[in-house]
Amino acid sequence: MANLKIQSLSLQIKSKTLCCDLNVQVGENERWGLLGKNGAGKTTLLHALIGQRRADQGSIQLDGVSVYDLKQRELASKVGILFQQGIEALPATVFETVMLGRHPHTQSLLWDDQKDIDIAESALAAFDLDQLKERAVDTLSGGELQRLALAMLLAQTPQLFLLDEPSNHLDVAFQVKLLSVLTNKVAETSASLIMATHDINLAFRFCENIILLLESGESLVGKSADVLTEENLSQAYGCHIKSVSSGEHRLFYPA
């Protein structure tokens, strides 16, 4: 389990304030959605969480230690991230690629431990890639590449999953599959998850908590049902957003 504590965090790019005075505490078995319009700072915030962008103010602590003080490898064994760009199609096999996810945990210099191989193989199977094990990555489709990136993240067995647009390139069936695989994984390992996405409905369905970044640099943090309202979303995206509800489900659409 990992405990992420963001305290009065401010991030700026040039002179633009992306977020100021952000306070979030992410505990075990929690799923968080990170929403905001294009350029609102979703990716920047995720990169800050892996120590790749300095905080202009405030602190980011993982289990009580600042992420900027953690050794790269130690951080990588706890926090895994799916980048928006996905993975590059270089000449390598699917299996070689998914094995890279084990890098932060690997002990031996030369040989691959059976344990790592097993974890990598089950990660492939979780995203229906086990048949493509020996395929060259540069022959995969966009959706297959995205699933491979997700399998690599799963193989990393992080305690905190960070996902930047995980549903990119995925068809509806795989979007649902992705959510159920990750939900199970988070529950199974008492992990936690933060997902940046443009899909408000996906976030509402999948995440019980939301960070909504506003144009002003302020942010709304809280339970999905409280934060994801027509009023808040219309303010965040700068366009009129309406919703229809049916029982517990809520569907958002631009008016």
């Binding site: 990588a76 895994g80 760009q85 590059e88 070689e96 690997t106």
Partner: protein
Amino acid sequence: MIAQKQILLLTLLIIISVSSIVFSLLSGSVNISVAQLVESIFSSEPSLNSQVLQEIRVPRTLAAFVTGGLLALSGAIMQVLLRNPLADPYILGISGGAAVGALSAILVGATGFWLSNAAFAGALFSIFLVFGIANKFGNWSVTRLLLTGVVVSAGWGAVINILLTTSSTNNVQSMLFWLMGDLSQSSVNPAHYLLLLVGLVGGIFVSRSLNVLIRGELLAVSLGVNVQSLRLLLFFSASVFTATAVTIAGSVGFVGLIIPHMLRLLGARDHRILIPSCVLLGGSFLVLADSLARTLIAPQQLPVGVVTAVIGVPVFILILRSTIRK
């Protein structure tokens, strides 16, 4: 994953290395048979054969092996560091600096020891010049490094041309040999072997991180690789390997570019295999090329750099074609 296929590749490369060294020891102006070679190794009696071997062929063969190994190793590292398939040991201007050093030494009539030292000093100067410019504001990026290297290279090229056009015909001959890569003046000392060994062991030691880094900087960071210090280590080690190689043999072309690619095409993409394979194949390739350089138009000698290109180009194209067809 290290599979049987890759163990097979390594075994094959060891056999090739040993055979190329034996071949090199046997070939030359004095014909030595395998029996005579064995005899002169095990007998303490001085003979013409053992003298030829000890004083000429063994040092030269080892010089070729060390140079080839260092160049291929440096090429493989540069290709990861710059994430560019066209990267070779000379891309950052190290050979240019060495060449200017060496050519200036030739100009003033220096040979042997002083020539080597001038080349090494030139190479070192170029390394720090390129890194200094790329690192001006403390945050060097790979693109900056590459651009600086290419520009500095071009600068050295101009100086080389000035030296060539203004020197006497006699000197120009030696200069051209140096520029094309030539092992006839070479000598290696234990420090060179040690450097190759350190490169081999160190390379294997960071090979897992190289596997991750080649996939992208950000990904490597997220998987726990300390990219900043790894890149620094790669830059300086590859630079020193290149500087040493050009000091031994001049700028032998092609080895550092095609050997790593050839091995990748043959399936050695994992650096745990690629690094030792580069040392073995780079070494034996240059040993073989030098044997041919000595014998093809004997008693005259060709610069070994010409032979590496003449063999390397067609072999590389063949491998490229056969893997594309798959």
